[in-house]
Amino acid sequence: MQFRYLAPLMALATTTVVATSALAQQRTLVINTDTSDPAPKAAFEQLIADFEAANPDIKVEWNLFDHEGYKTAIRNFLSADAPDLANWYAGNRMAPFVNAGQFEDISDVWAENNLGETLASAEASMTIDGKQWGIPYTYYQWGIYYNKDVYEQVGVEVPGNWDEFVANCARFEEAGIDCLTTGTKALWPGAGIFDYINLRTNGYEFHMDLANGKIEWTDPRVREAFAQWARIVEPGYITDNHAAIDWQDAAALLVQGKAANYVMGNFAVATFKDGGMTDDTLGFMPFPEITPGVPRAEDAPTDTIHIPAGAKNKEDAKKFLAFLAQPDTQTRINEILGQLPVNNQSSVGDDPFLQQGFAMLSDAYALAQFFDRDAPAEMAKLGMEGFQEFMVRPENLDQILDRLEKARLRIYQ
């Protein structure tokens, strides 16, 4: 982490020295991000270059952090040495910083640029206490990615609802193929499965109320969701030993045809394709319906940029955010990211998975952020451990729910 963090910093330090001596007139804007993977890094290079071209009097200083290290670093730099902008995530994930007064209220940027309309799908997840605290610039869909060859080999159709999905699983099992694969070593992939089963069984409002601690974990409706889940856990349709494998290893099982379905986010497409899958062999479907009539809500985690309360150049930071919210800016950076723009006037690249995702999210009833962003951090951690335990030891369900309920009473008091 240190090296990844130091190298850009050193490069930055040298360029700043050169830049400041040559152009003393320029104002500087400092931005910290954790977009260190190749695609996000390229997207930010483009974004910053475009912004500087549009505002020649502003010089952007960009500090690039390693993804994991950033989660700790942001807590330090927000209070110690705040940049003018920092990236983070929507929903409950930003709540600790908003509540501690470390993010700036930017409702004025939203109002002036009419963002309530263009960024409508993400407004709810950016709003705390009736104010907006950041600008969402990208999101991606979750759903089921499947191996078309395996479906053909076993001779089953893409399921239209949960009963058909479960029936397919029995067929896959006979053929010695894992119906659903996952790798929960890092816990979060299991939360994707829970999110969807609960969203499809009980609906968006119930799911959000549960994440916000308004519903008991021992509620019969929660049990009903777990009962639906048990239909694929108890017969062993989920990959064995998923608790010891990473999500990439599970992706390999799908690529090799040892597994049929994978509940994942769209970022996994790159991994599937690196493994040799193509648009002809890799398929995508929204998670099938469980309770008929429940409006279809989706998981779409949103990445955001915020102004720290301690920023020195808030004027230009707001300019940057307004620029980031524009439809053409979002089109360009999301083309590089391979994700979906939040602005509904942006256009989407012609990748079939993005097209499908865009269509799916556009007419979704509502968007959830993902369990570890919708629920407070502590609850998320305990919940995800519970989901993992349930998938390994479904017979422990009562203990798991009691434990989560006990945690709920403490965390949300």
């Binding site: 600790p96 501690a100 064995d240 030993n241 608790a243 010891a244 335990e389 390994v392």
Partner: protein, 307 residues
Amino acid sequence: MPTAVVPPRSSNRSWWRQNQQWLTPWLFLAPGIAMFVLYVISPIFQSFWLSFYDWDGLGEATWVGTGNYIELFDDGAFYTSLWNNVLWLVLYMLAVPAGLGIAIFLNQTVRGIRLYKSLFFFPFVISQVVVGLMFSWFYAPNFGLFYKLIEWMTGTGVAILADPDLVTYGIIAAGLWPQIAYCMILYLTGLNNVSPDQIEAARLDGARGFRMLWYIILPQLRPATFIAVVVTVIGALRSFDLVSIMTDGGPFGSSRVLSFYMYEQALSEYGYRMGYGAAIAVILFMIMMVFISGFIWKMVRDEKEGY
């Protein structure tokens, strides 16, 4: 004139002369004591203090009294971690006899023995992170060597790190590998100092094999045994890197130890409960104090007896 300068200097000197006997050691110790107080003693008391607060590291800290401890003693995850710590302590002790065995085995004059010794010592030289990664691959489901071996022998593979009942044993086994090497090195140096005369005399008196080891060799290895036990106990109690690398405490928290649970609660991505983490740290400190005081007591006693 030199004589004119003497009176003030001599009075200075006399103060110094009067006091230097007791002052000098303290002066030499002062930098060390200052660092020790700043970086070791004061954080201990800060942790005690912090464990009575509810604090997320960002906002206001609120006083909750013994709330964190009450919650801790009603927390299943805490007892899992505590039990795992006990397992670590007990099983890690195997490193001491195993290290002794290898040391005795290697303590002979054969061509190239230095090479064998360094090969046996190798696991201690490489980083714990590397040890952890190697063992995770060794245990990995579907392609790990150990998994394949079990599959070949019994028909079904066992993914140690995915099984809540076996995972801690799997990690301890990984930890024993470098720890045995450490104990071995301690015993090898100890064996160099075993007096040949005594062995000679014992041999004349007819001691062999186990009796020779138990009555003649081991008593002379007491200092080495003491150090080996101390480093093994401390190593077991602060086991963190292997747990973090191999399982991240999982599956569902069943391989957590106290130090890892403390880190998870106080500093990890989903944590930031500084007070609760501090409370765990205090408990861990108390457990360590039992052992540390025992060791110190023994050292002081030995010194008095003149070992």
